[in-house]
């Protein structure tokens, strides 16, 4: 059902944890739907020095968080903002159709954390214009 990459990130997630006094924190999803992602950023000169995550959710939610943190670590916030859920899916070698929403959550968790960083530092990101993470990203395939 899951690719080896997904299973690897699920079993050996990178960057699990919290950052005290993080530069930006983003939390998306909700427990009602069964997944919450929280991303902590440490930013210096617009560069993401460190990133940690905590996730409540299924295997692919955990793997998506893990791979997403890996993808943005060391990147500029602008580079991080360019990361789409598709890129997350690709980095995982694919996700089952019903699990695509997990990658969407990962993208939005990053954006929300950067938005928070921006707010704290009075920076507005052009890339985040109109960004409005909804609570419910489940778009499961139904017949």
């Amino acid at each position: 059902m899951y690719t080896e990459k997904v299973m690897d990130h699920f079993m050996n997630p990178r960057n699990v944890g919290e950052i005290e006094n993080a530069a930006g924190v983003g939390q998306v999803g909700n427990a009602k739907c069964g997944d919450i992602m929280k991303i902590y950023l440490d930013v210096e000169d617009e560069i993401i020095k460190d990133v940690k995550f905590k996730t409540f959710g299924c295997g692919s939610a955990i793997a998506s968080s893990s791979v997403a943190t890996e993808m943005i670590k060391g990147k500029t916030v602008h580079e991080a903002l360019a990361i789409t859920n598709k890129a997350v899916v690709e980095a995982l070698g694919g996700l089952p159709p019903v699990k695509i929403h997990c990658s969407v959550l990962a993208e939005e968790a990053i954006k929300t954390a950067i938005l928070d960083y921006g707010k704290k530092n009075n920076i507005t990101f052009k890339e985040l214009e109109g960004f409005n993470p909804t609570e419910d990203h489940h778009d499961h395939e139904e017949e």
Binding site: M7, F10, C33, G34, T55, F56
Partner: protein, 393 residues
């Protein structure tokens, strides 16, 4: 991964060796069509009669009240649709519960599109219906009560005899989905006032793809599969001879050894439940303490989600099941857990482990060793647990 511990007997069971041995000749040798009059046919017909009698004996029915189907789902569909349409002249109201298997629930929903009205009874926090609710729901249009014998997720057993009594007194047909109960609870259709009942072979160490519907003589029903004259003209299709033979053998074995079997499961179940409660915090046992299937263990592990728990268990060779939305591809966690009144966020973290014939003490020890580590690992990743820890600091 080397060790494998199967704890999902409620999902399906392996076919027992004795059962498979009895089935074998009917694939390649005694392959005749039981409806044929020549020797090949007779060879295939006689074992069907034997199987029918064995199954009838297992539930206190007469052989001619047992109709073979393709499984529990077909039995549920047939019983409910068949009785509903055949008795529509008497009324259009059906009573069931919120915690039925989907084979009952979705069938009832289908009937709602065809002029039937359905009352879905609530259950209490342990998963039992209240008889007063049932009595109150009955109207002069009620033609059928369909209430499951035992729940597949939380193992709660309903007051079947009393429900049957109420149905009888009100001259309403009573169907019960006994797919999970067969082999785990003593069933006597006469004693329990059951008019119709669904059972399935692959839950009692028989083959998949075969089940049966019990139908009390005299109950009005429509055929579900129309066609040939098989099953006393009520369920068409060339008989699944090896399947029927296997189901019959499985029913015989489970009836003969029922007490021992129940005892075996009960001991291991208690060990597992107590072990989990001792070793892990923030857990909640779902279901009823007394009216419970002997092999059912169902826990909520707060702050973590069921699928990631299942996946982690699978990686150490343990097979369980979860009422998590994420395993079913639907948005909401199990309708059963929701009906117990559990909040969404908690219902997501359920784990069902079901014990069966081949479960050993070592299996349980292994689970009690692995599960706490896994739960801790997932909680350490969970932002919800972080909050709780935070609160405790």
């Amino acid at each position: 991964m080397n060790k494998r511990v199967y704890l999902d007997y409620a999902a399906t069971t392996p076919v027992k060796e004795e059962v498979f041995e009895e089935m074998k000749p009917y694939f390649t040798e005694k392959f005749g069509n039981p409806s044929s009059i020549y020797s090949y046919g007779r060879e295939a017909k006689q074992p069907i009669d034997v199987a029918r009698t064995r199954i009838a004996n297992a539930v206190g029915a007469k052989p001619e009240e047992i109709y073979f189907t393709a499984g529990g789902s077909e039995s549920d569909n047939w019983a409910i649709k068949g009785i509903a349409f055949a008795n529509k002249n008497k009324g259009n109201h059906i009573i069931t519960t919120k915690i039925e298997h989907h084979a009952v629930l979705h069938t009832c929903e289908y009937l709602e599109k065809y002029g039937f009205e359905v009352t879905y009874l609530e259950v209490d926090e342990f998963g039992r219906i209240h008889l007063e609710d049932l009595e109150k729901a009955i109207t002069d249009k009620t033609i059928l009560i369909s209430i499951m014998f035992a729940n597949n997720e939380i193992g709660t057993i309903q007051p079947i005899k009393e429900i049957g009594q109420i149905a009888r007194e009100n001259k309403i047909y009573f169907h019960t989905d006994a797919v999970q109960a067969l082999g785990n609870v003593k069933i006597d259709v006469d004693d329990l006032n059951i008019d119709s009942m669904s059972i399935s072979s692959h839950k009692i160490y028989g083959p998949k793809g075969i089940g049966a519907m019990y139908l009390r003589k005299g109950v009005k029903i429509h055929s579900f599969v129309h066609g040939g004259a098989q099953e006393r003209k009520r369920r068409a299709g060339t008989e699944n001879v090896p399947g029927i033979v296997g189901f019959g053998k499985a029913a015989q074995l489970i009836t003969e050894n029922m007490d021992e079997h129940i005892n075996h499961m009960m001991c291991l179940k208690d060990k597992l439940i107590n072990g989990i409660i001792e070793r892990i915090d923030f857990v909640k046992l779902n279901g009823h303490s007394e009216y419970r299937l002997p092999g059912n263990v169902n826990f909520i592990f707060e702050f973590i989600e069921g699928e990631s728990l299942l996946l982690s268990l699978d990686l150490v060779g343990i097979a369980g099941s979860s009422g998590s939305a994420c395993t079913s591809g639907s948005l909401d966690p199990s309708h059963v857990l929701m009906a117990l009144g559990l909040p969404h966020e908690i219902a997501h973290g359920s784990l069902r482990l079901t014990i069966g014939s081949f479960t050993t003490e070592e299996d349980i020890d292994y689970v009690l060793e692995e599960l706490p580590k896994i739960v801790q690992r997932l909680r350490d990743m969970s932002p919800l647990y972080e909050e709780v820890k935070g609160g405790q600091k």
